[in-house]
């Protein structure tokens, strides 16, 4: 039978099929962070058991760590307790932990691939919906709840019904100032915030092949924003090259064997998908969102929809979003004042994003009314920024770098956008209050964020 790459990986990880039920799926890598794990470890303690496969489990603190003054203890007590609890749980169960003082610490979905903990063909879970990011490397990776974190800690397996399969094929070339982020915001806009529910996506096509590994991560990262279980891209030479020599990647003869195995991870010609969508990369322009879910996006030069003809819950939802954002139906966003800019997160916190941002602001000055938070995705990204001298470029333009973590993406630490303020954010969610109570988020890629930071308003980066 012809199989998709998703089938090949999934089927080879099924330990057991239950009549009329979910499948028992073996998990190769379990990534753990401080927010969704304490109750799971407490569950193990209650049962008097230990983590079943500590060598397959990796912990890192990222969600509520401060991005400034890291030489000091965490000021916020509950955050400090969560981080300390993770350190204690990891030590008690023999799990590798990347804590705040560790140069490898960072956002879990940036750290995993960087260290070669993530590898092609693996099943990867984490108590975080953006686990889909790891699909960029040809793995089945998805977010789980805390009960499932506990299942994985206890047994290295979870119980999952096999999702349906969707193929999203993107051919053609992306235009000037159009990034992987714009591409995925375009796809989410086209398919809507619930359009991928029940599916696992494979992204394919020449435009996807052309993307860097960082760009592929951005695309897979936001597959959850369509409601998809996850999204993956079949591994290729670019993928193999990325992993060569990484800390946890296989070495020597083991490496050759692994690459030979990874090369089989392709969708067979004629394999069936439950749904197929095709897009042309040339249709994508720099994007921005105007509403309160990532599907409420538009071309930056476009206008907010009029909402004509909406009724029932659709009408209530649309009006509520525009009211929250302070926008009018039909208006343009170009020139709208912006008070905050956030570069970072598991969506856009990688070296490529900092290169793009720095190239844009080089020789210019940050607008005085803009507060900009530039937060590297990991210690390794931070190190690379400095090695390339990007920190100097950014400083000269009036920006400062912060320390790695999730930061303003979900505002669990001190990095909160104040109520009523507008933020152009390279993160993944524009939900009400996501970046702080009352905050108003405009999702975009690094060029649009850089343009806003320089001009203090929503600006088409192609005009700068």
């Amino acid at each position: 039978m012809k199989k998709t790459v998703f089938d090949k990986i999934w089927d080879s990880h099924v330990v057991k099929r239950i009549e009329g039920g979910p499948e028992v799926l073996y998990i190769d890598r379990h990534l753990v962070h401080e927010v969704t794990s304490p109750q799971a470890f407490a569950g193990l303690d209650r049962r008097g058991i230990k983590v079943a496969r500590p060598e397959r489990t990796f912990a890192v603190c990222d969600h509520n760590v401060p991005t400034l003054n890291r030489h000091l203890p965490i000021v916020e007590e509950q955050s400090r307790i969560q981080v300390e609890t993770l350190a204690r749980n990891a030590a008690g169960h023999g799990v590798t932990y990347f804590g705040l003082g560790n140069p490898k610490q960072g956002v879990v979905h940036v750290v995993g691939p960087e260290l070669g903990i993530t590898l092609p063909g693996m099943t990867i879970v984490c108590g975080d919906s953006h686990t889909s990011t790891h699909g960029a490397y040809g793995s089945i990776a998805f977010g789980i709840g805390t009960s499932e974190v506990e299942m994985t800690l206890a047994s290295q397996c979870i119980m999952q019904p096999k999702p349906q399969k969707m193929l999203i094929e993107i051919n053609g070339r992306l235009g000037k100032c159009v990034t992987a982020k714009d591409l995925v915001l375009y796809i989410v806009y086209k398919l809507t915030a619930g359009g991928g529910t029940g599916y696992f996506i494979e992204f394919a096509g020449s435009a996807v092949r052309e993307l860097t590994m960082e760009g592929r991560m951005t695309v897979c990262n936001m597959s959850i924003e369509m409601g998809a279980r996850g999204g993956l891209i079949a591994p290729d030479e670019k993928t193999f090259e990325y992993f060569y020599g990484r800390e946890y990647a296989p070495k020597g003869a083991e490496w050759d064997k692994a690459v030979a195995r990874w090369k089989t991870l392709k969708t067979d010609e004629g394999a069936l998908f439950d749904k197929t969508c095709t897009f042309d990369a040339a249709d994508v322009e720099p994007m921005i969102t105007y509403g309160t879910n990532p599907g409420m996006g538009m071309k930056i030069t476009g206008t907010v929809p009029t909402g004509d003809g909406l009724a029932g819950t659709d009408r209530i939802t649309f009006d509520k979003a525009l009211h929250y954002m302070g926008f009018q139906a039909g208006q343009s966003l170009i020139g709208h004042p912006v008070q905050y800019v956030f570069l970072g997160s598991c969506t856009n916190g990688r070296i490529e994003d900092f290169r793009t941002f720095a190239a844009f602001v080089k020789g210019k000055k940050k607008h005085p009314d803009v507060t900009a938070w530039l937060v590297p995705g990991s210690g390794s990204v931070e190190k690379q920024i400095c090695a390339e001298g990007l920190d100097k470029t950014l400083e000269a333009a009036g920006f400062e770098l912060r320390r790695p973590g999730c930061s303003a993406c979900l505002a669990m630490n001190e990095d909160k956008i104040p109520a009523g303020k507008y933020a152009v954010s390279t993160s993944n969610r524009n939900f009400e209050g996501r970046q702080g109570p009352g905050s108003r988020t405009l999702l975009a890629g690094a060029p649009v964020a850089a343009a806003a930071a320089i001009t203090g308003k929503v600006t088409d980066p192609r005009t700068l």
Partner: protein, 195 residues
């Protein structure tokens, strides 16, 4: 051992908004606890209370006309973050079932793992529930998990709903996935050693 779910007859709390994401159900700043308890008091925190912590009278949970163990929400309920705290908050507040025309996948799993029943109905049936409750807030519905049937009691209109057979057994008996996974330890080891 979770709480058992068999049948439920209750009035309905209507929330006719689509794409209700888990950041609304329980905002991230309330995820700092290390236990599963007490999230109900912050359920829909930023819709329920204003910035000075005063109840927002127009929000449905603050409207004494509506109460019950069933929450009805617009399509794509529970989207966004994987935080299980969302299911804990809804359960802790007192709900035992959520009705929508479709649920986000992770939220659905999290609910089923916590004895909170997600009942997926057609958009038409959901619209009927909203309109019936709007006209008569004392409208009652019955959810029969054994028969997989939801009934609007005033009119007798009913609809079948789907649920995975294994999960149904778990809910009815209060079984737990971890007990099951621990019981097949040998099969997991055999999988690991298959070479």
């Amino acid at each position: 051992m979770a709480e058992k779910f068999i049948t439920l007859e209750s009035t309905v709390v209507p929330l006719p908004v689509e794409n209700v994401d888990t950041d609304q159900i329980i905002p991230a700043r309330f995820l700092k606890a290390t236990t599963r308890d007490g999230f109900g008091s912050n359920l829909f925190r930023d819709w329920r209370y204003d910035k000075d912590n005063r109840p927002v009278p127009s929000f449905v949970l603050n409207n004494p006309v509506y109460s019950g163990k069933v929450l009805a929400g617009g399509k794509n309920f529970g989207s966004g973050s994987s935080r299980e705290h969302a299911a804990w908050a809804i359960f802790d507040y007192g709900f035992r079932a959520v009705v929508s025309s479709f649920f986000a996948d992770i939220f659905k799993n999290n609910s089923l793992n916590n004895g909170l029943l997600p009942v997926q109905v057609t958009p038409e049936f959901l619209a009927k529930i909203f309109s019936a409750v709007e006209q008569r807030p004392d409208t009652r519905i019955r959810i029969d998990l054994e028969k997989q049937e939801i009934t609007l009691l005033a009119t007798g209109e009913k609809q079948h709903f789907d649920i995975n057979g294994y999960k149904k057994t778990c809910l009815i008996n209060g079984y737990d996935d971890i007990d099951y996974l621990l019981s097949i330890k040998d099969e997991i080891e055999a999988y690991e050693n298959r070479g």
